[in-house]
């Protein structure tokens, strides 16, 4: 784009490809290309660099809407429930968040409410060790709601600042699994007013348009209050967030940029777009 001297069809095709390939999706891309074409028609822009800047601004405005980082207000405890489909990085993100909170002087408790997946509890316990957070768990195969109940009681009695609930990955179209999440939410709400204070959906940056379906169905079932996007250290750009942001107001909280405890960043719209364009 930098070497282009004028705005022509080829430039627009190149921009279209960049957007599609970043996973922004056909609808979003077509909409933005149309806007750019209109600007050119109206004579508002004739330089490729300026066109690219307009495009960047358009995308920024779409994303800025949801650029709201998580504020853990003083509660006892502030309850965060982490949900999402299989393998996206929920457990790892919880470990990172716990590390950040403890580094900031907060006390953290983790609830090992993934009682289904093999060695999920052991995995969370290792992260708890790394982060300086204790893990509440039950022996294998027990009811996730029971683990959550115990964790809530423990957090309340200890005056813990933050309780993070790890749940099993699940396909969002499986109603019985979504019911299980609703039950966990009810248990939390029953014990603590206004809780869960954050229902954080974890998305994988390598996922394509299916992220939209995930956001819609998890939101429908539980009401999502925040989104974390992992694996942005790979070559996937996570452009589907633009499509999501265009349709719904759900704050983008964090991005995951690696597998270590420090590999967590607050979402930043500008940085996010710069990685795409």
């Amino acid at each position: 784009i930098a070497s282009k001297k004028k705005i022509d069809d080829q430039l627009l095709e190149e921009l279209e490809e960049i957007m599609i390939v970043s996973d922004m999706g056909v609808q979003v891309t077509c909409g933005l290309i149309e806007k750019m074409k209109n600007k050119v028609k109206k004579g508002e822009v004739d330089q490729p660099e300026i066109l690219k800047q307009y495009l960047r601004d358009e995308i920024y405005n779409i994303l800025d809407n949801n650029d709201k980082n998580l504020e853990v207000s003083a509660r006892s405890p502030f309850v965060i429930m982490v949900i999402g489909v299989n393998g996206v990085g929920k457990t790892t993100t919880i470990g990172k968040m716990a590390g950040r909170f403890t580094s900031g002087g907060k006390s953290v408790l983790l609830a090992a409410a993934d009682t289904f997946r093999t060695a999920a509890v052991e995995q969370l316990q290792i992260w708890g060790n790394r982060a300086g957070a204790e893990v509440i768990s039950h022996p294998g195969g027990s009811d996730p709601a029971a683990v959550v109940f115990d964790a809530l009681k423990a957090a309340q009695s200890r005056g813990t600042d933050v309780l993070i609930i790890d749940t099993a990955g699940r396909i969002h179209t499986k109603t019985n699994l979504m019911e299980e999440l609703k039950k966990i939410k009810r248990i939390v709400a029953k014990e603590i007013v206004d809780a869960p204070h954050e229902i954080l959906l974890t998305l994988d940056a390598t996922t394509g348009q299916n992220s939209i379906s995930q956001v819609k169905l998890f939101d429908e079932a539980l009401g999502i209050t925040g989104i974390a996007v992992t694996k942005l250290d790979g070559t996937s750009k996570g452009g589907v967030l633009v499509a999501i942001s265009g349709e719904m107001n759900i704050p983008f909280r964090y991005i995951g940029i690696g597998e270590k405890i420090e590999d967590l960043r607050d979402f930043n719209a500008g940085e996010f777009i710069d990685a795409i364009l």
């Binding site: 996973d23 999706g25 489909v85 990085g89 289904f116 390598t206 348009q209 790979g234 070559t235």
Partner: protein, 292 residues
């Protein structure tokens, strides 16, 4: 769905007409949009449209079906052709112990799929041995051991500080000396752009000379799936592909992208979290799903 949209486009075409370049153009645009929405890679979709176009132009509009249905049929056939019409099972030839390596990005389902494959082989009468070569992910080795216990399949116990290539080498020796005929090596998830970790896979390959290296990819993967598959194939060499989480509602266009860019056969589909949730790949079902 796509067939309805195509029928609308061709509704004025009479039964005696030919599918001409003009009346195909709208149809091709519709098909391309549908493929992109299904996560088929941009360039792969473009090439696919070109081959559909050359197959469609000049074709007689058959009297028995509508032009929209005929177009849809051409697309479906071309998709099946590209995905790989016949199913190829695992390459089990060679003097035992033979080994299979499962590789791919983080979280795609390699560990669970390793157990599923081991289970399949056991049911076929082979004597599989699971090798946990992921020393990085918290509780990864434990995860594979618990799965192998559930299946009553033996698994290697890595020693402390044993490197992945050593684990695999030693497991191979142990298997050979103890009557196991098939090693299934579960490797750590890694980025295709992580040079050191890609090199680790090459070392494991050299140590174990696997019968097949199976690339495990997520059915919901987006546009970047081509780049990942291409890199794994270039740096390591892939022999087959397994697409997991097909029980979700992702259209699965990554299947076409990966097949198109590597040319390697998709061998299995992961269809759930249970250890029996694995199926042989069949192109027609995957094709229908991609087309929505």
């Amino acid at each position: 769905n796509l067939t309805d949209k195509l029928s609308l486009i061709f509704k004025d075409l009479r039964g005696y007409g030919k599918l001409s370049e003009k009346n195909i153009q709208d149809a091709l645009r519709e098909i391309r949009m549908s493929l992109l929405e299904a996560d088929v890679n941009f360039k792969v979709a473009k090439n696919f449209i070109d081959s559909v176009k050359s197959r469609a132009i000049g074709r007689e509009v058959l009297g028995s079906i509508t032009p929209g249905q005929q177009m849809s049929k051409i697309v479906h056939e071309e998709l099946i052709h590209l995905l790989g019409e016949k199913n190829e099972g695992l390459r089990l030839a060679g003097s035992p112990p033979i080994s299979f390596m499962l590789v791919g990005l983080q979280g795609t389902g390699k560990t669970v799929t390793s157990a599923k494959i081991a289970n399949l082989l056991k049911e076929k009468g082979r004597n599989p041995y699971l090798v946990p070569a992921d020393i990085y992910r918290p509780a990864a080795i434990e995860q594979l051991h618990k799965l192998s216990d559930q299946l009553k399949i033996e698994a290697y116990f890595p020693r402390e500080h044993e490197k992945p290539s050593e684990i695999c080498r030693n497991a191979l020796d142990f298997a050979g000396n103890n009557g196991f005929d098939t090693l299934i090596i579960d490797t750590a998830g890694r980025l295709h752009i992580d040079e050191a970790l890609m090199e680790e896979l090459q070392t494991i390959k050299e140590e174990t000379n696997p019968s097949e290296i199976l690339f495990v990819a997520d059915a919901m993967a987006g546009q970047d799936a081509v780049n990942v598959a291409k890199k794994f194939d270039e740096l390591l060499g892939i022999d087959g592909v397994i697409l997991t989480k097909m029980d979700g509602d992702a259209r699965g266009g990554a299947a076409l992208s990966i097949k198109a860019v590597t040319g390697k056969p998709i061998k299995f589909l992961g269809t759930g979290e249970k250890l029996d949730a694995i199926e042989e790949f069949h192109a027609d079902r995957v094709a229908s799903r991609i087309l929505g």
